[in-house]
């Protein structure tokens, strides 16, 4: 076995590979970009090599630097993970040329599949059904799907509904492909909006054994990015499964494939299927296959790379596994990625990390981040994968939905809520989700009751927890001998402001026009809704309060009682007027000035005083010119404030005293 392996990747997949390496006693080597200097994958590797820079192009896509790193750290082999350089045959070749082992198929096999256009031709030749490349699209070919030839993970993909959009979409797809894969080649194929994405996991050794280790249904996708994956595929019957296996085997054998790979098919509603592509690497969603087979696919990759033989046949899958990908992006706002500090990252019931073991049921977390991590803009917004497995699909899906619904993820917006709703959706539950499912999945109608009750909980938690000071801190909160008015706390959500009115009484705290209140503490509040008690967990951070309950997770921003005000009123206050000479006027009537912008200079007692605009506005009147002698109180400039009445700007000598004038007068 290799004694040391470098993983040319980051995040959860780097950690996944390290996990197996550690189990096998292999020294682990990480590479890390500058933002990742303290990321988990870099921190837990035995050795790390810095890739200077921030963008993927400067770092994880730099084949030369990675090979140098492997050599410098004494690594014997390179594991590419997925994404980045994982399907770059030139990189694989360069690794081999550097005398290092390559955990993956041969560069020839990679390049055969690396071009999606070429691979389609190859597969068609081998008798595998394919969706033909549309060379010169016309009206009849619509809708079309643009794909990056070197791509994966949805990047570079575009659906084109109108021919007029084609040039623009092609350009965008090329740019995206270039940025993500270093290759701008794109092509078009017919777009089947209602098919199912079914893929077959393949493992092949160099001795001719080819395994097909179950299939995966990855139809729940947003913008061609997989979100939920499961095995076995719920709508694939045994005859179709065998035909898919056979086609996958043909594909692998056609190119002399070696290692772990995935053959992707689009399965139509009529049961016809088409070869889409073959991914010559480990898939993101490989854990579902591990969960039902008990295999360690990374370990098998390493063993195959070393030249080991696979046993004659793979283990039979048992039960069902489903994976949800947790992304730092907002499904309600066009999947806009979100950045920020991950304040809390807590998913209950996790029994294992990066491995599935042999238990008949369980919950696995593969994550590249932990609470406190900064989620930046540079890389993929996927935070983690959560995998549940159980004897039946229904149990596995329920377990996953349950765990995610109780997860506490604070600090960045995620698709957590959408995942839970999909996993509990009747269409999904019945196995009816095709690739168009998520595009039409309704975004969550903000449950006003959930927001309202969460705000009540946050207000009450703050109310009882707000005073822990030495000054009268032991007295009942909000105590009044003459209670006169309810207290108020307000919060804003993305689209609303919620006011909560409450009063303290001898019996505790009560909400005005609100629910019955149970026990209240600084981080937990019980409220009754229709006689049912709900518990709300309240967590406060610098910028927001998060409230989690069975109703959902709500982010609330407390409204300050004293709104932050802009610059003080016109003229400021208590400015000592002084006599002097105007030495320079920097503005003219009609000029628009910003608050604080110097308007004129006044010389007095051999010092030059800058007179800045007290507020933004337009110069309405200039009553002084250079050389004027002015007395205290003289009006110099009249400033018309935007949206306000005219304001007289008098001599406002702030601390903006400039001394350069002294040199001139000396």
């Amino acid at each position: 076995m290799f004694s040391s392996i470098l993983v040319a990747n980051r995040g959860e997949i780097a950690r996944r590979v390290f996990h197996t390496c550690r189990a096998l006693g292999i020294t682990t080597v990480a590479v890390y970009s500058d933002p990742d200097a303290h990321a988990l994958h870099a921190a837990e590797a035995d050795l790390g090599v810095r890739l200077p820079g921030r963008s993927a192009a400067e770092t994880y896509l730099r084949a030369d630097l990675i090979i140098e790193a492997a050599l410098a750290a004494g690594a014997e082999a390179v594991h590419p993970g997925y994404g980045f350089l994982s399907e770059n045959a030139e990189f694989a070749q360069a690794v081999l040329d550097a005398g290092l082992g390559w955990i993956g198929p041969s560069p020839a096999a990679m390049s055969a599949m690396g071009s999606k256009v070429r691979s389609k031709e190859l597969m068609a030749g081998a008798g595998v059904p394919v969706l033909g490349v549309v060379e010169s699209p016309g009206e009849a070919d619509l809708p079309l799907l643009i794909k990056a030839s070197a791509g994966g993970g949805g990047r570079g993909m575009r659906v084109v509904e109108r021919l007029a959009d084609l040039p623009e979409q092609l350009a965008a797809a090329r740019a995206e492909a270039l940025a993500a894969f270093g290759d701008e080649t794109v092509f078009c194929e017919p777009y089947l909006p209602t098919g199912r994405h079914v893929e077959v996991q393949v493992l092949a050794d160099r001795h001719g054994t080819v395994w097909t280790v179950g299939e995966r249904d990855c139809s729940v996708q947003r913008r061609h990015q997989k979100v939920i994956e499961e095995t076995p595929a719920p709508t694939v019957g045994e005859p179709l499964r065998q035909r898919l296996y056979a086609a996958a085997r043909q594909a692998a054998q056609a190119i002399g494939y070696e290692g772990a790979g995935t053959v992707e098919f689009l399965v139509g509603p009529d049961g016809r299927f088409f070869f889409l592509e073959m991914n010559t690497r480990l898939q993101v969603e490989h854990p579902v296959t591990e969960a039902v087979t008990g295999l360690d696919l990374v370990r098998l990759q390493l063993e195959i790379a070393r030249g080991d033989r696979l046993p004659p046949s793979p283990p039979d899958p048992r039960g069902h596994a489903v994976e949800a990908r947790l992304y730092a992006e907002d499904p309600a706002h066009d999947y806009r990625p979100h950045t920020g500090v991950l304040q809390a990252f807590d998913i209950p019931g996790i029994v294992s990390r990066f491995e599935s073991g042999g238990a008949p049921r369980g919950l696995r977390l593969d994550s590249g981040v932990t609470a406190g991590d900064e989620i930046g803009v540079h890389y993929d917004p996927m935070l983690a994968k959560v995998v549940a497995w159980a004897p039946t699909r229904d149990e596995a899906v329920s377990a996953l939905a349950g765990a995610l619904s109780r997860a506490r993820i604070h600090g960045v917006v995620t698709n957590l809520d959408q995942l839970v709703r999909v996993l509990r959706d009747p269409v999904f539950r019945s196995g009816g989700a095709d690739t168009g499912f998520l595009a039409t999945f309704p975004s969550a109608p903000a449950d006003p009751d959930c927001v309202r009750l969460s705000a009540v909980a946050a207000a009450l938690a703050d109310a009882v927890g707000s005073r822990r000071t030495a000054v009268l801190g032991g007295l009942p909160n909000g105590w009044r001998n003459l209670p006169s008015m309810p207290r108020r706390r307000s919060f804003t959500t993305d689209d609303s402001t919620v006011d909560v009115h409450y009063r303290f009484s001898r019996d505790g705290v009560a909400v005005v026009d609100g629910p019955v209140v149970g026990t209240v503490s600084a981080d937990r509040v019980e409220l009754f809704r229709d006689r049912v008690r709900h518990a709300f967990a309240v967590a406060r951070y610098d910028d927001a309060t998060y409230v989690d309950s069975a109703l959902g997770s709500v982010r609330l921003v407390p409204v300050d009682r004293f709104p932050k005000s802009g610059p003080a009123g016109p003229g400021g206050s208590l400015v000592a007027p002084m006599p002097g000479t105007v030495v320079r006027v920097a503005v003219a009537v009609g000029d628009t000035v910003a608050a604080g912008q110097p308007l004129l200079w006044l010389e007095a007692m051999k010092m030059q005083h800058q007179l800045p605009a007290p507020a933004a506005g337009v110069i309405a009147e200039l009553r002084a010119k250079a050389g004027d002698q002015v007395e205290p109180g003289t009006v110099l400039v009249v400033l018309e404030q935007v949206g306000l009445e005219q304001v007289v700007l008098e001599q406002v000598a702030d601390e903006h005293v400039v001394r350069e004038r002294e040199q001139e007068t000396a």
């Binding site: 030495a470 000054v471 009268l472």
Partner: protein, 526 residues
């Protein structure tokens, strides 16, 4: 402490019912103070975009901090509205205990009447005695001119007190929300820190009409005393706010920047009483001739219901002992069976001296009918012993707090640190009564004197007329002894719900423990 109170007993239920009835009457009077000038003036005030006095206070206070409103019944029983057009109290602003004085402009424009003055002076006295920074939320049309003779001459004390506070190193802040004219102008004038509000504050010695009268000048209000003028020309305003909310925020910032160091010891850990405060409603019998055990009260007020009794076997009509309330060590003197004998007087004297030795604040729980009378007791030196106790109380230098639970009659009121003995705070329960003696006794004494006078002059004594007079006198005295009447006259700092006793004491103890520290003079306003 063990309790023998049976909360399920009929007696308890009757006591409770009587107390709740009195609390309902009290609430009705408090509601008058809270209503300010009534819906019409409150609405008018709001329509001007202004906050009410209590809203200003609520905004000024730290969120969810406690606030003890003082003298809420001031002017009760007088011709002036209950509350006396000003709100005063103690609360926490920027983690600092402060005295807050806020004019209620919905009541006759916030104009001062004699009770406004007394209530304000009492608040300033509390600030001075306990070294609490003062925040004046000013909006007042000045003195009620028709009653100027009752206000003008004594009213000067407000400004003297403000600057003497400053001289004593106690900061003073004025936030001017509206009018602050004539004498009122000296409130910002005498304060260390002044906030004014754009287009709202108007501070001048004389408004345009008076200026016209005095000099013939046609003065413009804003030029004469507007916020901008004071912020930029006269220098009377240190801070210029655009609206009330910003002004209150500035007030909070000023207090924060005082970096006020609270003097005195920090309290120890706080444990609630083991017995329910709620049961305080059922302890005092409606008829004060029925005695009750003050230990039942103490057990529901002090930390952990723990009370170390001093001399329990001696002078049993007065309970004395040590406890902590909200973590503050205290000595407690509480009347048990009404009457103070020589032994009780001597016990009290010794206990007060001990408290002074250990610098422990004292709490007096009143339920006394006075010192024992009669030949035996006079011969036994009851005057000497009573004098001893009054001497000890008068010259004790630890802070005192009095709570009138029931009767507080005769010299007993003095010995137990009545108002004239300057306790730092004095509160009454709705069940309290205070007078030179009970109404029946006083009427009886008058009747006896009349009867003797009739006998001496040989006139026939009219029994029927006597009965009428006795009833009238008794009713008058009973009415005058009621806590709301006494509170209206500022003879206490408020009538409190018995269940709030522990909280009120905790708050007051926190402020009375501040030892003195002084500077050479007050800040001169430039």
């Amino acid at each position: 402490m063990k309790s023998t109170v049976d909360a399920g007993s009929r007696e308890f239920a009757e006591n409770r019912e009587a107390m709740l009835a009195k609390l309902a009457e009290l609430d009705a009077e408090h509601a008058k103070a809270l209503a300010g000038g009534g819906p019409k003036y409150v609405d008018r005030h709001r329509k001007r975009g202004k906050l009410l006095a209590r809203e200003r206070i609520e905004l000024l206070l730290d969120e969810d901090a406690p606030f003890l409103e003082l003298s809420p019944l001031a002017a009760y029983g007088s011709d002036y509205p209950v509350g006396a057009s000003v709100v005063t109290g103690i609360g926490v602003v920027s983690d600092t205990e402060c005295v807050i004085i806020a004019n209620d402009p919905t009541v006759r424009g916030g104009a001062s009447n004699p009770w406004t003055l007394r209530k304000t002076l009492r608040a300033l006295e509390i600030a001075r005695q306990n070294r609490l920074p003062v925040l004046n939320l000013v909006e007042s049309g000045g003195a009620d001119l028709q009653n100027q003779k009752e206000i003008f001459i004594p009213g000067g004390q407000v400004f003297r007190d403000l600057t003497r506070l400053s001289a004593a190193g106690v900061p003073t802040v004025a936030i001017v929300f509206g009018n602050s004219t004539a004498g009122g102008a000296y409130i910002p004038g005498m304060s260390d820190h002044v906030v004014m509000i754009e287009q709202r504050s108007q501070v001048f010695l004389a408004g345009p009409p008076l200026v016209k009268m005095a000099t013939g000048e046609e003065a413009d209000e804003e030029e004469l005393g507007g916020a901008r003028m004071h912020a930029r020309v006269s220098g009377l305003a240190d801070h210029y706010a655009r609206d009330e909310i910003e002004a209150v925020g500035l007030g909070r910032r000023i207090v924060r920047s005082l970096r006020w160091k609270k003097q005195g010891p920090t309290p120890g850990p706080v444990t609630p009483p083991k017995l329910a405060e709620e049961e305080l409603l059922g302890i005092v019998p409606p008829d004060l001739r029925t005695p009750f055990d003050p230990r039942e009260v103490i057990a529901r007020v002090v930390d952990g219901s723990e009370f170390d009794e001093f001399k329990p076997e001696y002078g049993g009509s007065l309970v004395t002992g040590w406890a902590t309330v909200h973590g503050f060590p205290v000595g407690i003197l509480a009347n048990a069976r009404g009457v103070l004998f020589s032994a009780e007087s001597q016990k009290a004297t010794q206990f007060i001296q001990l408290a002074n030795q250990s610098r422990t604040p004292l709490i007096f729980l009143h339920n006394t009918t006075g010192y024992m009378v009669g030949t035996e007791y006079e011969q036994g030196g009851i005057i000497k012993h009573g004098a001893m106790m009054i001497n000890a109380v008068s010259n004790s230098t630890v802070p005192h707090i009095s709570v009138l639970m029931g009767a507080s009659y005769g010299a007993g009121h003095y010995g137990m640190c009545g108002r004239a003995y300057e306790p730092r705070f004095l509160f009454a329960w709705p069940s309290a009564k205070s007078a030179v003696m009970g109404g029946a006794q006083l009427a009886g004494v008058l009747s006896l004197v009349n009867r003797q006078a009739a006998a001496a002059t040989g006139r026939p004594f009219d029994e029927d007329a006597d009965a009428v007079v006795r009833a009238m006198v008794e009713n008058q005295i009973e009415a005058e002894s009621l806590p709301m009447v006494l509170s209206g006259m500022l003879y206490d700092d408020g009538v409190i719900d018995p269940r709030d006793t522990r909280t009120v004491l905790g708050l007051c103890l926190s402020v009375v423990i501040c030892e003195k520290a002084a500077g050479p003079y007050g800040v001169f306003r430039m």
